[in-house]
Chain length 219, copies 2
């Protein structure tokens, strides 16, 4: 998905050469439509797009449950934008600054895809010591003893645990857990973290506060 036709073709050619199945789109709306209809394993997204820019596309892709977990590699012209791209405001998985070599892009794609399949398995059920989180059953447990959590609390826990080790800002948590109702106070996150900690009891040690930044799930 790119604005310059020849750049799109170059990427397409190299990816197909490498054995990947490729679908292209020449603007953001088309990209969103195709991605929703048939979610790909990975998305290469240019920031510079006609009409809707790559940032917007990225946000929408993350909001749509169908595509929210698809890895995204962003192509950007300015190095100054990387903080926005990776800083979980957008939540891209990787990025490249233009101009880039096809080889570099292939390396990134390979890396992300192997990581994705490695993470695919334990996604249904995550374990951290005595803490178990069963995603499909919607149950969290401490030493085989179930912990009664509300929907929001569970979603918050899952969101933190899935990105274990990585700091999540309040804004990014609001996006992922509350699916962006932008009118919500960031302090609301605090309250739910507190309730989570109360209910988790001893397992609350996994929930770490990074002052001035956000929260982190400690492994």
């Amino acid at each position: 998905m790119d604005d310059e036709p020849e750049a799109t073709e170059l990427v397409e050619f190299n990816l197909k050469q490498a054995g990947y199945a490729v679908t292209t789109a020449c603007d953001g709306a088309e990209a969103l439509r195709k991605a929703h209809a048939q979610p790909p394993e990975l998305i290469v997204l240019d920031v510079m797009l006609p009409e809707m820019d790559g940032f917007e596309v990225c946000k929408v892709l993350r909001l749509d449950p169908v595509t929210s977990r698809v890895p995204i590699i962003m192509l950007t012209a300015k190095a100054a934008e990387i903080d926005r791209v990776l800083g979980l405001e957008l939540g891209a998985d990787d990025y490249l600054t233009k101009p880039f070599s096809p080889r570099e892009l292939l390396l990134r794609i390979k890396k992300i895809l192997t990581r994705a399949v490695a993470e695919e398995k334990p996604r249904e059920q995550i374990r951290f010591g005595d803490l178990t989180i069963d995603f499909p059953r919607h149950v969290a447990a401490w030493k085989a003893r179930a912990i009664a959590l509300t929907a929001t609390e569970f979603k918050l826990l899952v969101t933190l645990a899935q990105r274990a080790g990585r700091v999540q800002s309040r804004d990014s948590l609001l996006r992922d857990v509350w699916e962006y109702e932008s009118v919500i106070d960031t302090r609301t996150v605090d309250t739910h973290i507190r309730r989570l900690r109360e209910k988790l009891g001893p397992a609350a040690k996994h929930l770490e506060t990074i002052r001035g930044v956000g929260y982190r799930f400690l492994e």
Copy 2:
């Protein structure tokens, strides 16, 4: 690295003329040895080589972690080979078909080198000897031992480390770390540098003061 001595000399002469430091090799094995011992910034590689051909050399260079990220320009006689050269199998960054002009070669080299420095930054985890800085985890560590830093201190460290080797004035640090315009005293930077040094302990040797100018992160 070429098979015909006079062609090698021609390339070598032109590159040195342009101010590059050049090392040559007259066969594949020698090229690999030299490249591994002292990885260059860029490799110009002829396909036609005695014993091991350029394709083989290219593959081995890519497999060796020491040289896997070094850009490669391949010199080839046949236009038909370019797909193989640029594709995933070999992963060269660019190519030239013989005969070519020295000027053309210089242009390609320049383009790739400027691209390489632009791509150097995208790292979410930086290492300098025993000092590790993990951006998404928001953790700095010395010899695998975490260092407790506040939000501002961490941001200051990251800003300095990302531009390692380059001096940063107090004003530019204020802009990058504190983000808003300087309603803040420049001496405030000193205090935070001090606190950083205290907490970094032995790793503080990376933080250098350039009197009258600013601060620099030493590698």
